[in-house]
């Protein structure tokens, strides 16, 4: 059912008048996340200030059958926080307390509205940091990171959110408060924590997060190398991996992305076909030895320039150019669409050449920025919405790039999530049986289908979201019959 007067009265009793938004102007902020082409107006927004209030709100929704969408700071890129029409948005920005900082044991516990970078700021004076570093880390919330299993430029060596979260406290869609994992490792039984991380807010609403923090590495070295072809840059990446070197980050940008970054933040990148950024970190002896090997590899594959950052400022400038690349596309195109796909790293050259052929064929310029070490592509498709048909053409191009990723044995998304944006493509990566099993898990957590419905799974919905105990879906039964 939709939010109604009776619901709002009870909601106000939980969070007070100041904790409920229903004015059309106030709701505007919550219509979308950072994927603005998908919009929906919620009936109301709740702003709880404690886990207890979150629990009471979810219980109310469960009792009244009102769908709800948890929201952090709205920086998601897949419409994961897209509201449900007539439903409630639970905005967690007021749950922003740091609950515990345990430096000797390298653990920090925070509420979900604390930003990613604020965790690092808490521990930086002691020489520690929180490793996952999505480009939006200054503003994105840790709760959103947990929902999306966020990565970042340094996950090649350090892994994703799931590798750094030790525990969460979460409210299940029926209103039960559960503790999954915690300060101590090895909670017995199935790894429900690992399941919740990356479930895009469809299984629970997280109310506190315990993360591990890492000691700052002794040394960091960064280089920027330019190449005449993307294949030459790709060959360096292959050599690095074959040599058993795991850099902290390996990033590539092509000429359009380089020009855009130059126009926006002037990182002083060489005007070339491809730039490669390689960062090594760790003990000084190791970094020094391996960095020399990487420089030799760049030379051997014909690097036209190699700039080694000599100072922190120089390193920051290189990263500014890389991290600004998305937003910088606005300098070279009126509109752009960021795609997020993954291919096995060895298939990068092949897929990039297909993308360049598509660029020529479609007439739309495509900038390429990618995490080359783990095969995570971020093609930036340029279009002008004022030209009739170009918006649709851009969406088609983006979809075609995803099909290249799947054909190469990759994934629909490396870090932005499926959300509402890509749910229709899930059947290209997963069989009906795969999706039915995931839906079965969803139904265990959310039998009423109220917790962020319409995300991750393609519609029409399968059996998993039907209330009540698990029932075999006709499609699933048909699949079984065929298999036997």
């Amino acid at each position: 059912m939709n939010v109604d007067r009776a619901f709002l009265t009870e909601l106000r009793a939980i969070v007070g008048d100041a904790g409920v938004l229903e004015d059309a102007l106030e709701l505007l902020t919550y219509e979308c996340d950072a994927l603005p082409h998908l919009r929906e107006t919620p009936a109301a927004v709740a702003l709880p200030s404690s886990a207890g209030e979150v629990q009471a709100i979810v219980r109310l929704c469960a009792r009244m059958g009102v769908p709800f969408v948890a929201r952090g700071h709205g920086t998601g890129l897949s419409g994961g926080a897209l509201p449900v029409a007539g439903g409630l948005v639970i905005a967690l920005a007021r749950l922003n307390r740091v609950l515990d900082v345990d430096i000797p044991n390298q653990r920090v516990t925070v509420e979900p509205g604390v930003t990613n970078l604020d965790i690092t700021k808490q521990v930086a004076p002691f020489g520690y940091y929180y490793a996952p570093d999505p480009s939006s880390q200054q503003v994105c919330s840790i709760g959103g990171n947990v929902a999306e299993n966020s990565g970042g430029a340094h996950c090649l060596k350090y892994g994703f959110t799931v590798h750094h979260v030790l525990g969460v406290e979460a409210v299940l869609p029926n209103g039960d408060l559960v503790q999954l994992g915690g300060s101590l490792p090895d909670t017995p039984g199935p790894d429900l924590l690992g399941l919740i991380v990356g479930s895009e807010g469809t299984l629970a609403v997280v109310t506190s997060v315990t993360v591990r923090i890492l000691r700052r590495p002794e040394t960091v070295q960064t280089l920027l190398a330019a190449f005449d072809t993307i294949d030459a840059g790709g060959a360096v990446v292959s050599d690095i991996i074959s040599a058993g070197i795991i850099p902290a980050a390996v990033e590539m940008m092509d000429s359009l992305a380089i020009r855009a970054a130059e126009a926006a933040v002037h990182p002083n990148f060489p005007d070339s076909d491809t730039v490669l950024i390689v960062e090594l970190d760790g003990p000084a002896a190791e970094v020094t030895a391996l960095f020399d090997i990487v420089v030799q590899m760049c030379r051997r594959h014909g690097a036209t320039t190699i700039e080694v950052a000599q100072t922190d400022e120089q390193r920051a400038r290189i990263w500014r150019g890389r991290k600004a690349a998305f937003a910088a596309m606005g300098r070279v195109s009126p509109n752009y669409y960021v795609q997020d796909g993954v291919v096995p790293r060895t298939k990068l050259p092949e897929v990039l050449n297909r993308i360049r052929a598509l660029e020529a064929r479609s007439g739309l310029r495509i900038g390429n920025v990618f995490h080359a070490g783990d095969g995570n592509l971020h093609p930036l498709i340029c279009y002008d919405e004022r030209i009739p048909g170009q918006s649709d053409a851009a969406v088609e191009v983006a979809a075609e790039i995803l099909s290249y990723c799947i054909e190469a044995g990759g994934s629909l998304t490396g870090e932005h999530g499926i959300g509402a944006d890509k749910s229709q493509y899930m059947p290209t990566m997963f069989t009906p049986e795969d999706l039915a099993l995931m839906q079965r898990v969803r139904a265990v957590f959310d039998p009423q289908g109220l917790c962020n419905p319409g995300k991750v799974f393609p519609t029409p919905r399968m059996c998993g979201e039907v209330p009540g105990p698990y029932r075999r879906h006709p499609a699933e039964a048909a699949g079984l019959a065929e298999r036997m």
Binding site: D186, I246, E415, I418, T431
Partner: protein, 400 residues
């Protein structure tokens, strides 16, 4: 009656065996090499054993991508021998790692000293194929190291102990084999010294491959042992730290030197080992707890609480990951004494997540193997009903 042994050779046969068991309401236990046969609660009736060892192929080793897809019944040792051809490894070294299978490792999330650097199987698995009791084969995750599409069901079966579904195959990210390796064995005087080593290493910028505790205590409370000058008794108590560095040989040397300088103040002796001696040390370390009688439990603790943890209990030996705060404890004595220690560990504010992994049936009758699941219990029950509606999997041995 002895259980029927089913030896599937294909994924479809695994699914079919589960479907038949579910339809006939007969119990079925999934088994790899049997290194963890003694884990879990005492089984109720076992009608069939699903022996996975014929599903033992490496389906793909994409060495350029550092990934491998492996069938559940393959042994870790054979997998790593094959991966080593390209200088790579699946970096797991659990107890009994010479025989353990990939499926068993995932189902129990078992690991060893390499956990310090690489985590447990749940941190390395990137894709999975499962057979469920409705006879269906499904997959989740994928073949690429970075992927957030759909639910990560590989996590759901990690630690499930074969209670939800059968793992048919799994894809892992791999690690490069290091060019050089050395290990330092450090002896410390007392629990406080041990805690000093843990704090010093954790706050340093050194990056060891493994950082282990190995403590063996006499049957007396260690607080009383300080006044005991009997040499045989003091020899039976030992507090050791084992640290391994692995990288380029010159880097190993540099880190060893740095570690030695940093730890000098809190240790009584430091031995450095490489080559065969190093290998023997790690073999002995892996077997340390398991070669002697007694109950063995999994346990976790906050790393810097180690002195308090050891001070709290006599009669235990502990082997574990110093900076993670996880490992195994061996408990001597008769059943009543073992049960008392386990209850003491569970009541302790220092230890947590105590699970019996080796114990007599009398001990398991006296204390529950898994302990309380707290607020997770209702979810466990719902998951079990959804995946195994007729309760045929694993004969009640698992956590759910």
């Amino acid at each position: 009656m002895d259980p029927v042994v089913i030896q599937p050779e294909t994924a479809a046969e695994v699914a079919e065996a589960l479907r038949q068991a579910s339809e006939a309401r007969t119990s079925i236990v999934i088994r790899g090499a049997g290194t963890k046969d003694g884990w879990g609660r005492p089984p109720s009736r076992i009608d069939a054993v699903l022996d996975m060892r014929r599903l033992n192929r490496i389906l793909a080793h994409e060495h350029g991508d550092m990934t491998a897809t492996i069938e559940a019944g393959a042994s870790l040792r054979e997998v790593n021998a094959a991966l080593a051809i390209h200088g790579q490894t699946l970096p797991l070294d659990p107890p009994h790692g010479d025989r353990a299978t990939i499926g068993g490792l995932l189902a129990t999330n078992d690991s060893g000293p390499l956990r310090h650097r690489y985590g447990t199987p749940r941190d390395l698995v990137i894709g999975i194929q499962l057979a469920t009791t409705d006879g269906v084969l499904s997959k989740a995750g994928g073949q690429v190291v970075k992927n957030v599409a759909g639910y990560d069901l590989s996590k759901l079966v990690t630690g499930s102990f074969g209670s939800l579904a059968a793992i048919v195959s799994a894809t892992f990210k791999l690690a490069p084999l290091p060019a050089g390796s050395k290990t330092m064995r450090i002896a410390v005087r007392d629990e406080a010294g041990l805690a000093d080593v843990v704090r010093t290493m954790m706050s340093s910028q050194l990056e060891p491959m493994a950082f282990e505790l190995a403590t063996r205590q006499s049957t007396q409370n260690p607080r009383n042992a300080q006044n005991n000058h009997d040499s045989a008794d003091s020899a039976s108590s030992a507090l050791n730290v084992v640290i391994r560095f692995a990288s380029l040989p010159a880097v190993v040397e540099a880190q060893m030197a740095q570690a030695t300088a940093g730890l000098k103040a809190c240790t009584t002796s430091i031995d450095v080992l490489d080559g065969d001696a190093e290998r023997s040390l790690w073999e002995a370390h892996a077997n340390e707890l398991w070669d002697a009688p007694g109950a063995i439990v999994r346990a976790s603790w906050l790393p810097t609480n180690i002195a308090a943890a050891l001070g709290e209990l006599g009669r235990i030996s502990l082997v574990g990951r110093a900076a993670i705060g996880a490992g195994h404890i061996r408990i001597e004595g008769d059943t009543a004494a073992q049960a008392a220690v386990i209850q003491q560990l569970r009541a302790s504010t220092v230890f947590g997540n105590i699970v019996i992994v080796r114990g007599s049936s009398e001990l398991k009758a006296a204390v529950d193997v898994w302990g309380s699941h707290g607020t997770r219990q209702p979810l466990f029950e719902s998951l079990k009903r959804a995946f195994d509606p007729h309760g045929v999997l694993n004969a009640g041995r698992g956590p759910l």
